[in-house]
């Protein structure tokens, strides 16, 4: 794609609006990106978008940022990646900066504090809904190792208070080693 200011601006505008109107984050962004960059602009093939989604999902960090980096890079190189990152992080950055400025003033208001307290129970329900859905999928695989990892990680973190980063590094290494062994031995532990 030609590196002219019109294309940079279109990339910035697209990522900015995608980010500004994607609530809940994560996986929602991929179908919206596909609609924009594959169906509307024809800048990417559907196959490429699927690869981008797979790589974005495999990397640490926010899915929306990861996917934007890859789209920007693929379309306009390093400068494209930077423009796409800027477009993606500006909306949450602006919104949260504004909220943050008013937060201290609002928090002590009796009405606001009662509403926030009511919202807390709702947020808990949303978190537990996510946990039940994700945990249910793992139990349904009927593989003993992922279930053991889930129960073990919970005990080690919540009860024993082991450093969270050690747990993540340990489980990532375990997953890598077991999958290599599985491929070698033709088994499916994980």
């Amino acid at each position: 794609m030609e590196k002219n200011s019109k294309n940079y601006f279109t990339l910035f505008k697209s990522t900015f609006f995608l980010s500004a109107f994607t609530f809940g984050g994560g996986y929602v962004i991929v179908p919206m990106m596909k609609k924009k960059f594959v169906d509307e602009f024809g800048w990417l093939e559907e196959e490429e978008m699927l690869n981008i989604a797979a790589i974005a999902q495999s990397s640490p960090g926010a899915m929306a940022v990861n996917a934007s980096i890859l789209v920007g890079w693929r379309l306009l190189g390093l400068s494209g990646a930077l423009v796409a990152i800027l477009g993606t992080i500006l909306p949450p950055f602006i919104i949260l900066s504004i909220i943050s400025l008013f937060y201290a003033a609002f928090r002590d208001n009796a009405v606001v504090s009662a509403v926030l307290k009511g919202m807390m129970a709702g947020v808990c329900a949303v978190i537990f809904d996510v946990v039940i859905t994700m945990g249910g999928k793992i139990i349904k695989t009927r593989k003993w190792l992922p279930i053991l990892i889930m129960v073990g990680a919970f005990i080690v973190y919540y009860v024993l208070r082991v450093n969270i980063i050690y747990i993540i590094v340990f489980c990532a290494t375990l997953g890598a080693l077991v999958s290599l062994y599985d491929k070698h031995a033709g088994k499916e532990h994980i």
Partner: protein, 187 residues
């Protein structure tokens, strides 16, 4: 100095949060509440509430919010930069590896190992917020008098509705604030 601390904390959050969505939440809680005490658990819960209702990833929202609270605009900037820097490097390296090998057995294995871990970590973070919602900042006790029955009823009701119908989280949180807020002001 505080800039460096913010940058380093959010760099770790960006580097170790796999799995999108709420996966970053336990790491943010660990850094921001447990290790540095930049926010109380109640403030952190407000942050998660705000994040769920505004667009954008939790990590970016948190970096901006915490950065602004602790060190103003500059703090927000370094925190956000820290949280996206690992992504930039890793995502482009992976894209390069993928174009060379097409199939990445090791990466798939790492993700398979992390999927159950992330569920356990989100559950842990959720439990600490639940204890705060039910018993307040004093923490868990067997004493029924200190239990917040409005919060228990709201939680049970919303969880039931969320499991039964595919509700939008924003609607749940807003309505919970409306109903719960009215109850708290009345009783």
């Amino acid at each position: 100095m505080i800039y460096l601390q913010l940058f380093w904390s959010f760099l770790q959050i960006g580097l170790f949060s796999f799995g999108g969505g709420m996966a970053a939440m336990p790491l943010i809680q660990n850094q921001v509440v447990d290790i540095h005490g930049w926010l109380t658990l109640a403030e952190f819960t407000d942050l998660i509430t705000i994040s769920e209702m505004t667009p954008g990833p939790i990590a970016i929202n948190s970096a901006t919010f915490v950065g602004t609270q602790i060190a103003g605009f500059g703090g927000a900037l370094v925190s956000t930069l820290g949280s996206i820097l690992p992504s930039c490097i890793i995502v482009l390296s992976l894209a390069w590896l993928y174009s060379k090998y097409q199939e990445l057995v090791v990466i798939k294995g790492i993700l398979a190992g992390l999927r159950p871990t992330v569920v356990a970590l989100i559950l842990s973070a959720g439990l600490s917020i639940l204890v705060l919602a039910f018993w307040g900042s004093a923490g868990f006790t067997w004493n029924l008098a200190s239990l917040d029955f409005i919060a228990v009823a709201l939680f049970a009701g919303w969880l039931f509705l969320l499991r039964k119908f595919d509700l939008n989280p924003i609607v749940v949180i807003l309505d919970s604030g409306l109903i719960g807020g009215t109850c708290y002001l009345l009783f």
